[in-house]
């Protein structure tokens, strides 16, 4: 699969792969699915791979990632890996229902969907395709734009497995669901994970989506998630990314919000070779609200790219974006926010904010906070800053006896805390708080366990305990 750079031959390869699949893996597809796959694949052939000259890709170079060879699984890896061998849970107070993916495949992909005691129907997308064709037809491929984005087209054409979650109307789920996507390939791996989450009317869910590597093998995950949030529903969506330095993650999520629905996204990127989070939110009903937060702490040659597109398609909606990043070593970051307010979307409130701190002269930060506004009765604002730690504050702290290192750490932590404090689940917030502190001290590379199941012993830090919380 080296042929990525030469567009043509990669496409040729994928064409023959697609043909193979049509006769095998895809042969049980419903009519809807197979026509969708076909259309997407045609789009994939028409579209070009982005280069540094493509708008929105000017600072994210996929070249090196795409020039590697990757293997692509057409069914679940036959080698039986017990997920429990790869990680174990040892975090107190954070009880979740877990759905685990290993190398993009649901660990129980062959099992039927499971109805949890609390009423959620969840399991592998592969199973849902067979068991719930009506839900698939209603939502699958309806929100993601496979017509303009080559990776979304490719994902839609080859989507085989991932997580499916259906929260029926009026169901309020207290216990968070945790989607853990473990990358543990034995060879360089490309995958097209596909998730679908359907939130029924007035339902409520906390979802924690973890992407982790457990070894140092290269991977290219072209992941795509669609989330439908029906009237009055609310989802808090947490993303935790802790991948190895050879990983490439294109993590695209489309949120479709109906009237009075609420969305909170909080994505924390701690490690990863190249991470591109593409988040698209459409506010498609009155009084829908979206809060989108992100924190990225990058070092070495890591690169993180947050693309956030918020489309106000209805009046009286509110959106709020806040992304913060600290870049060390030769790390680089991109924030590209795009708020689009339709002509009819009067009384829109939209805010966009991106703050970056550079710790070295080789680190880079790029910000493009865009506003595109066609309605007049709006309150929209955006701000972006790039800078260093406040020297006045540093001196103030040092004049009270803090060492320069501690003072810097404290200020960086305070900078990050604004995002961490938005986490609504106490146990999760405390856990991430710890992880961020470790990350800032340079103690967290990729754990050999999942983020939330980190088995490393806790370390004492002087400022660890915030007594104000006692």
């Amino acid at each position: 699969m080296k042929a990525f750079v030469e567009n043509g031959s990669f496409k040729k390869k994928m064409t023959s792969l697609f043909k193979d699949c049509e006769n095998t893996v895809f042969k049980n597809d419903t009519k809807y699915l197979s026509s969708l796959r076909y259309k997407s694949f045609q789009k994939f052939l028409e579209l070009d791979f982005p280069t540094l000259k493509t708008a929105d890709w000017r600072h994210t170079d996929l070249g090196p990632a795409l020039s590697k060879d990757y293997l692509q699984y057409l069914n679940k890896d036959t080698e039986e890996l017990d997920i429990n061998d790869i990680f174990t849970c040892d975090v107190h107070d954070f009880e979740t229902d877990q759905i685990s993916l290993l190398n993009g495949w649901h660990v129980h992909t062959d099992e039927p969907l499971k109805q949890f005691p609390n009423g959620i129907i969840a399991g592998s997308l592969a199973a849902a395709m067979g068991e719930h064709p009506e839900l698939i037809e209603l939502h699958f491929g309806k929100y993601a734009d496979y017509e303009k984005n080559i990776f979304h087209a490719l994902n839609t054409a080859f989507a085989m497995d991932g997580v499916f979650i259906y929260v029926p109307d009026d169901l309020v789920i207290e216990k968070p669901i945790q989607m853990i996507n473990i990358m543990h390939p034995s060879e360089n791996l490309m995958l097209h994970t596909r998730n679908l989450i359907i939130m029924g009317k007035n339902s409520r869910l906390n979802l924690v989506h973890c992407d982790d590597s457990t070894n140092h093998q290269a991977s290219f995950n072209n992941s795509l998630t669609e989330v439908f949030i029906d009237k009055g529903a609310r989802i808090d969506y947490y993303k935790l990314q802790n991948l190895n330095n050879d990983s490439t993650l294109l993590n695209s999520t489309y949120f479709h919000q109906e009237r009075d629905s609420r969305l909170m996204i909080n994505s924390i990127s701690l490690n990863g070779g190249l991470i591109r989070n593409y988040t698209h939110v459409i506010l498609n009903g009155l009084h829908a609200e979206a809060d989108i937060f992100g924190l990225y702490l990058m070092d070495k040659k890591q690169h993180v790219d947050n693309q956030v597109s918020v489309h106000h398609a209805s009046p009286d909606c509110r959106s709020n974006e806040m992304f913060k990043g600290v870049m060390d070593d030769e790390a680089s970051s991109v924030f590209n926010g795009h708020v689009l307010v339709d002509r009819d979307a009067q009384r829109t409130n939209a805010f966009q904010n991106n703050r970056n701190i550079l710790l070295t002269d080789k680190a880079k930060a790029n910000a493009q906070p865009f506003l595109e506004i066609y309605a007049d009765d709006v309150k929209c604002s955006h701000g972006a800053t790039v800078g260093q730690l406040d020297v006045e504050a540093l001196f103030y702290l040092r004049s009270r006896g803090l060492s320069e290192a501690s003072a810097r750490l404290l200020l960086m932590y305070a900078f990050a805390a604004e995002i961490i404090n938005k986490i609504g689940i106490d146990a999760l917030r405390n856990r991430i708080d710890d992880m961020v502190k470790k990350r800032l001290r340079g103690e967290l590379s990729i754990c050999d366990r999942c983020v939330l199941h980190c088995s490393q012993p806790e370390q004492e830090v002087t400022f660890d305990i915030d007594l104000s919380k006692i």
Binding site: A365, L371, Y374, D376, D377, V378, H382, G383
Partner: protein, 482 residues
């Protein structure tokens, strides 16, 4: 103050585009179309040296390989570059030595525009270079300026009299390869202004160029070059108008500014090209490349623009801050009404240490127009302690227009600080009501409020321009309510 207000209200109530007349002057024109022959024709007409013809031809050949840029938030109808006249000049009888010898019709034109060359000469002490259909008509005050060693003349004269300066600096800030319209300009530019401020000289007066498109089917491709040598200072103003015509006319200008150690150039523009009628018919396509470079330490370039005219504006006055401690500024008010479209902003490229830039942009959209701010702030690795502050506000009048903000921030230095802020909102109901309650009608109230909103930028303009600009703002928004 009261009188000013009344004037504005008067202007608003009368306000049509008042510069839309056509002057009947005998013209000398090239045939329509663009080719190497036309370029040779232009160059020959102007008795240009070989190197300049070479420059034009290289630019033309490069232009042929380029595509019209499509990234701006603009809907540009296809332009037939073969349907444009690239050279139109008022027929010259002989060399003019005094204003008495200028074609009386031409003088009348400039009088109508409110830039009576005579008046200006006597009263205001502003040196004016007037460019009509690409040809510099008359530069006033040359004698006075010469005493200070300042060169201020038409570009063509500069080519004849100061070829070494022109050759050294032309294309040094905006190379012909820079972009599609800069390449086109480099190939076919006909005239413009040239200004050189020698070491240690502060220009004793404001310099000004007035651009006028008169003839039909012509494009205007002027080229301006301003050089301020060590410690030099000049404030330079540019104004422009065009007749009302149903077809679109192309204006693709290039302005280059070079400042050396401790030198400063302040460049102000009131752009009032014909914007088209209320249905969006006609109007000028204003595709302009303006860029300055601060080559020396402590050099400064300041752009101020009031953009009210043109059917389509595509313009990003920029600063390359190469010298340590150099300063770049961009102040802009852009008004769009009816079916006007504007995509304008600035680029600040910080290379030197302790360089500083400020961007203040106020966009006002009304009618069915679209108004975009687009700006780049780049801090390169060397730009230690560089600072940028950008504030880009948009005001929407009415629910059929669009206001957009597209900032690009690229930072590669840890000690550099970039701050960008922007807001988009509609005109405050409370402020409007307050005005109405005091007996001011809606349109005047909007005029007042908008002027207040734009004040931060307007105050950067030289006096005589500021008053003009204030009136323009109100007129441009005429008919935007109701």
């Amino acid at each position: 103050m009261v009188k000013d207000k009344n004037n504005i209200i008067d202007e608003v109530t009368q306000g049509e585009y008042k510069y839309g007349f056509v002057t009947d002057i005998e013209m000398e024109m090239a045939p329509k179309g663009l080719s190497e022959d036309i370029i040779r024709f232009i160059s020959a007409k102007k008795k240009e040296p070989e190197w300049l013809l070479d420059f034009r031809l290289k630019a033309y050949r490069h232009w042929l390989t380029m595509k019209q840029p499509g990234w701006a938030h603009l809907n540009i109808p296809p332009i037939d570059f073969q349907d444009i006249i690239y050279y139109a000049a008022p027929k010259k009888q002989q060399e003019l030595s005094s204003l008495d010898e200028v074609d009386p019709d031409l003088l009348e034109t400039f009088n109508k525009l409110g830039i009576s060359l005579e008046e200006q000469k006597r009263l205001s002490g502003v040196a004016v270079d007037a460019v009509m259909d690409s040809i510099s008509v008359k530069t006033t005050f040359q004698d006075t300026l010469e005493k200070h060693g300042i060169i201020f003349c038409s570009f063509s004269e500069a080519v004849q009299n100061h070829p070494e300066l022109v050759r050294k600096y032309i294309g040094s800030t905006v190379p012909y390869t820079d972009n599609y319209f800069a390449a086109l300009n480099s190939a076919v530019f006909s005239d413009g202004s040239f200004c050189y401020i020698p070491k240690g000289v502060r220009s004793p007066m404001e310099l000004s160029t007035y651009f006028r498109i008169n003839a039909a089917n012509t494009g205007q491709f002027e080229r301006t070059l301003i050089i301020a040598d060590e410690g030099g200072y000049v404030s330079y103003m540019e104004g422009c108008t065009a007749p009302m015509r149903d077809e679109n006319q192309l204006h693709a200008a290039v302005v280059e500014i070079v400042t050396m150690d401790d030198a400063e150039v302040k460049y102000s523009t009131v752009q009032n090209w014909y914007p088209g009628d209320k249905d969006g018919k006609g109007g000028i396509f204003n595709f302009v490349t303006k860029r300055g470079i601060c080559r020396g330490v402590n050099a400064k370039i300041s752009w101020t623009q009031v953009e009210t005219g043109s059917a389509i504006t595509w313009k990003y006055p920029s600063c390359i801050l190469l010298g340590d401690n150099s300063v770049g500024e961009f102040y802009s008010v852009a008004v769009t009404n009816n079916y006007q479209q504007a995509d304008t902003g600035s680029k600040m490229i910080h290379i030197g240490k302790n360089t500083k830039s400020t961007i203040i942009s106020k966009g006002i959209s009304a009618g069915h127009s679209n108004n975009s701010y687009r700006g780049l702030v780049k801090m390169t690795t060397r730009a230690e302690n560089a600072r940028n502050f950008s504030q880009c506000d948009s005001l929407l009048l009415g629910d059929k227009c669009g206001a957009h903000t597209f900032p690009y921030i690229e930072c590669e230095n840890k000690s550099a600080i970039v701050e960008h802020e922007a807001t988009t909102s509609k005109i405050s109901e409370d402020q409007l009501f307050y005005c109405l309650q005091r007996g001011i009608d809606m349109e005047s109230a909007i005029g007042l409020i908008v002027n207040g909103y734009a004040k931060e930028v307007l105050k950067q303009l030289p006096m005589e321009f500021a008053v003009e600009a204030q009136k323009l703002l109100s007129i441009s928004l005429e008919g935007s309510v109701g």
